[in-house]
Subunit: 333 residues, 2 copies
């Protein structure tokens, strides 16, 4: 892999920003997306890194996403803040909502953030980590296009519907998981297809509803929820929270209404933040450490975010590597 | 099974109440537990029905649980209420917290309930259904004794740690799931052992950490989380919410400190309630119905609570059947 292109994180950020600006994003929208993409590269979550920029740009080029959208904050209730992303990308709207969400959580103990009318094309841990770094417990839920069959069913209905949960620590970084409610990420199936490999049992069914190990049949059929009916229940919960509860679309509606430009589809995101101190417990973080110790004491286990944080330790100095084809694609002519 | 004992739901309630009173429960504690046990029998969730009464009584007999405990309500924050169960059973404490929780959710959009110092020996859907019947979206989380190994590990650490989520409907009953974060309920392994059957792959490992299909080896070893590392992450989340966040114990601490009398161990429960209307969305329930339609339209699927509600339709008239050995055990001499 000696032909990989090595970039500093600053260069990653610049490339992302320039591309987004080129296709009409405002400086603020571009900066917010570039921050998230750079954080993903920093943590070696390549599938949410620069790899996503062509999709972000495609949705600007097609006119689907409003590049200069200005998120609008609405105070819905003492413990609920709403941000209308105004048809823009999610990151800037999530940034706009973070401070009022944290303030409400601190004032009232628990609070929620509803982001609607947004285009989400990233992982969830960045918005969760922003809150955990502020000492709050946080959840995030987002739905997407229909790719996953409900347990027992045969046709795509749910999105891959990730759910993220984060717990703050006195010594950062926080413990965060961010996991799809599908058995695998869609990208993993696409990578198996590209590389001519079979996919494992339990990931997908074909268009006739039969189990398949062929990635192309899987992509034409439906992905399966993780853990059978239990993962399916979680996928349904994510649809309800990020869709019906906050007045945004379900995955099947997003798929139906989407312009297939290779970019994200429109949807909502729901977050919850809790302040352990306002919940009356000043020992919560210290107590949690005893659980984390018990987990990692067992050989073969790890805390959910460990791999990401290990990557972070060296990429900040060493930079990251991206494939030459992607680097060329991101050169603005 | 012609020797089964048929009881009306009123008789179920009376038997439960008399037993609890006999072992020193106050009228209110006995009534609250009997309500939950009767609801489980009504819904043909036998493992949480009269079957649990000997365990409830054992924990009164051993002096572990305070039979006449009076739950104490503390207003912790504008959106957080705490109920100290005062070393009593959870149902009365959950009842005490339900009204302030609902009031706070309606006033502020979202609210939380922390129940501590309680003995939980029931399913979670009864407390969730109480809130959904009141038009609220609700979550509940509870941990228990250490039975489940973290993903990759070999020794019991997490409880079977159920999580419940409920969505209200204009026409009741609500859609509710209540699922363990272990691959199977512990009781299912015990039933396989009793009946001399092998357990399926993926349920458990033996005391050496090797996969096992033998129920006795499984009970001596560790249960596995559902869906691998994703279910394990959810089990961890439940520990943090029902333990560290609210100032109660983790499963491993509950196991360590428990008096092994066959009854429940001490622990906490965490609930969240959300008012869709206060979140600014008066169409939430109608919109959700379109998702439910899409789910059940697919042959082979069902909504999470369907089986329970079907049972309810006939047991209210026809009563329930219990095994003679249990019936005899519950006769107060």
């Amino acid at each position: 892999m000696s032909d990989m292109v090595r970039l500093t994180l600053e260069e990653v950020h610049n490339i992302a920003t320039e591309n987004l600006l080129h296709y009409g994003a405002s400086a603020e929208q571009a900066r917010a997306v570039a921050d998230i993409v750079t954080a993903a590269e920093r943590d070696e979550c390549k599938s949410h890194g620069l790899f996503r920029i062509p999709g972000f740009c495609a949705s600007l080029k097609s006119g689907k996403v409003t590049g200069n959208a200005v998120p609008e904050i609405n105070d819905l209730a003492p413990s609920v803040v709403h941000v209308d992303a105004a048809n823009g990308f999610a990151p800037l709207a999530l940034e706009a909502g973070a401070t009022p969400l944290a303030e409400k959580a601190r004032a009232n103990g628990i609070a929620a953030l509803a982001v609607t009318n947004s285009y989400h094309f990233s992982a969830l841990w960045p918005e969760v980590e922003r809150l955990t770094n502020d000492g709050l417990v946080a959840f995030a839920f987002v739905s997407a296009k229909s790719f996953v069959a409900p347990a027992g069913g045969t046709k795509p209905l749910f999105g891959t519907n990730p759910m993220s949960f984060g717990w703050p620590r006195s010594v950062l970084p926080a413990v965060i998981f961010d996991q799809a409610s599908s058995a695998s990420a869609r990208g993993e199936i696409q990578i198996h297809e590209r590389d001519g490999l079979q996919i494992p049992d339990g990931w997908a069914i074909d268009a006739n509803g039969n189990p398949t190990n062929d990635p192309s049949s899987a992509l034409a059929g439906a992905q399966l929820p993780f853990g059978g009916y239990k993962g399916s229940a979680i996928a349904m919960m994510v649809e309800l929270l990020a869709g019906a509860l906050i007045g945004d679309v379900f995955s099947f509606e997003a798929s139906r209404d989407d312009k297939p430009d290779g970019g994200p589809s429109s949807g909502g995101e729901f977050m919850i933040a809790i302040d352990p101190v306002a919940c009356g417990n000043t020992h919560a973080l210290a107590h949690a450490e005893s659980l984390f110790e018990q987990i990692i004491e067992q050989e073969g286990t790890r805390l959910p975010s460990e791999r990401r944080y290990r990557a972070r330790q060296h990429t900040v100095e060493a930079g990251v590597e991206i494939v030459p084809s992607l680097y060329r694609e991101l050169q603005i002519s």
